[in-house]
Symmetry: C2
Subunit: 129 residues, 2 copies
């Protein structure tokens, strides 16, 4: 079975109490305001901070006190991609809505998510046989 994946985005994960300040900080750092969908108020999106590129940057409020940055891998087959990465030494941490939270072999968190940007995905995703 063929499926596809590519690096998609970077998240700055911060405690809920720090969310507003962090959203402001990164908006200033990047020189572009965040947009927040009222239906998903825990996400602040800066879109693509390096125009014409394929990676997006977010600030996300999380239920933990340990700040970090994590990466997302988008894929047209979440189960196949999770299985591929488990075979490489990653571990599954949790399933949330449509995505899977994982840890790399050292313990750093990343997520496997469904295709977010079809045009970029079609142009740049890697093919796995």
């Amino acid at each position: 079975m063929t499926h596809h994946s590519r690096l998609y985005s970077a998240y700055v994960d911060v405690p809920v109490k720090n969310f507003d300040d962090s959203v402001r900080f990164y908006g200033e750092l990047l020189g572009r305001p965040a947009t927040i969908d009222p239906d998903e108020p825990e996400y602040a999106s800066y879109g693509d901070p390096t125009p014409t590129t394929g990676i997006d940057l977010y600030v996300q409020a999380i239920g933990e006190d340990h700040p970090r940055i994590h990466l997302d891998i988008e894929t047209d087959d979440v189960e196949a991609e999770v299985a591929r990465l488990v075979a490489l030494g990653a571990t599954e941490v949790a399933r949330i809505h449509t995505w899977v939270v994982m840890r790399d072999p050292v313990g750093t968190v990343f997520c496997v998510i469904r295709v977010q940007d079809a045009a970029q995905f079609d142009a740049k995703a890697k093919t796995w046989d």
Copy 2:
């Protein structure tokens, strides 16, 4: 004084003892081998994992046991950019060679570095007056 900056790269920072495994893991995850400059063996570069984009991904061996991901901001004026970010609430952690290690207001590490990719920088850097 006008200077410029833009988001440049993402680093997966791992303990030295985990470096080789992590380099292999991310090479497999991305489907592209890392290149390691013998003069800087603590860095494994995957180049740009999403072709035509302006962000590069590395694995870096660090002298700490706490894995994390950090972002780099490249700039044509390190001092001016550091001052700008300190004014936004960041703090300076250390000066290493030509770059400055900083923490964002929540404590997440990032670095301010000199221009690494002049063509991308000229095309995409944000101007700060």
